[in-house]
Symmetry: C2
Subunit: 231 residues, 2 copies
DNA sequence: AAAGATAGGTGATTTATATCATACTTTAAA
DNA sequence: TTTAAAGTATGATATAAATCACCTATCTTT
């Protein structure tokens, strides 16, 4: 991890409208002063479960995984998060400690804002409070939706969902480098590594995707959607 | 459904401290005026998915299920909610419509507060905004936790968790009437009705619980906990 | 009281997934 | 640069859960 000198201001940040659209000049200054940019290298653990929360985290560049480790030592990935995501907003005002760990999957640039300043702004600016509440509901809705989806799917449907997530939500192309290992892929869909590998091989053999190591090329995008929706 | 004349005021409500502890007298009056008590009979559908959200819902007595119906017509229960729960807080400021349906499992008394008044209070009272944000995070944390738990469990562990939920969180006794059918039990743990029934029978035959129709008596509470934790 | 619908229950069989074993490949460390 | 450790891959087998079939009991409605 490396703390960077401020390069941009919140006011001109591309993600500004997502949450900070309603702040006035003085409030921007407050956020800007209470904030630092942090660069994490690939594979770095940003936060540990049970670590005290004292900042609001905001992804500017890169990719992270949110995960929990069970009592047998096995990891379970809750979600993959990308630029624009507020990766700890849901738990920030609730717990004194994180209830999941966060690690980077790529080199990642994040903004860290002192939690007390954010709390102050929520109290002082009603519109900002509403956007926080709005954003939290949005994140929770995605968790509910993905849980609902997974409970209807078998392994093929789950694999298809994740492949489409990377293609549509993260890389915006049909060919991309998978940022996770096969083991992590399994941890994300609650399946074993072996069956995850096998199913990716099946998709490859069936001509739905072409795999070469970490490179994935989606050949039959529409069929992948059918698999995602129907099982 | 039956609209009741106001009997109690928010100020003396037993659940006041959960969310409304920081309101002043004028604000209490606002909530009280914008609020109505509604009594739903057993099995009634309170809200439908895709229905417009225009009130904040607050359980005072009874029990409800939150669920979604998939494209094959099968229901998936997201959670069972009990008195003191804010059953639509997570999505209230996000969507214009519900993203799940709500039905009662028992006769249920709820408070409905006009959403605009709640939004006004969030904007006007910073401490109230903080308690809303705090409470939302708490609810989201429970969803994350239950998802993490389920992904580690097979059917026995899931059944044990639900039985302990009813005993510890809802009825506060080891003997209770199951408020859901075996089918709904399955919808709650993402297992088929048949296997749910079979596992309850197994628990009964093994002397862990005693079942008679809807009546459940937990005989070996500690062992049920072991099953919940270890699989 | 009869008839139909829903709920509870159990066995047999099929299917999906986990587990175990083993090999080869790539990456990281000594 | 060799060695060790992960990661990828695939087959065989075991286990968990779904499905199908059928039956009885209990509500609901007429």
């Amino acid at each position: 991890m490396k703390i960077k000198n401020d390069i941009i201001s919140c006011k001109t940040c591309v993600y500004r409208t997502l949450l900070f659209g309603c702040l006035d000049d003085i409030e921007y200054k407050m956020i800007n002063n209470a904030r630092r940019e942090v660069l994490f290298h690939k594979g770095e653990k940003i936060k540990s479960e049970f670590e005290k929360i004292n900042s609001f985290l905001y992804l500017r560049r890169g990719l992270v995984k949110l995960y929990k480790t069970d009592h047998t030592g096995k990891d379970h990935i809750l979600s993959i998060n990308k630029p624009g995501d507020f990766i700890n907003l849901l738990c920030i005002f609730t717990n004194e400690t994180y209830n999941y760990s966060i690690s980077t999957l790529e080199e990642t640039l994040a903004c860290e804002v002192d939690i007390n300043v954010l709390e102050h702004l929520i109290k002082a600016n009603g519109d900002f409070a509403i956007s926080i509440v709005h954003r939290m509901g949005h994140i929770a809705g995605e968790i509910i939706e993905s849980r609902f989806e997974q409970s209807q799917q078998q392994i093929k449907g789950r694999i298809a969902s994740i492949l489409l997530f990377f293609a549509d939500q993260v890389y915006h192309r049909k060919t991309f480098e998978l940022p996770i290992t096969r083991r992590e892929f399994g941890e994300l869909i609650s399946m074993t590594t072996e069956n995850t590998i096998r199913t990716l091989s099946d998709f490859n053999n069936d001509g739905i995707i072409a795999t070469k190591g970490k490179t994935i090329n989606i050949l039959d995008y529409d069929f992948l959607w059918k698999i995602k929706v129907n099982g």
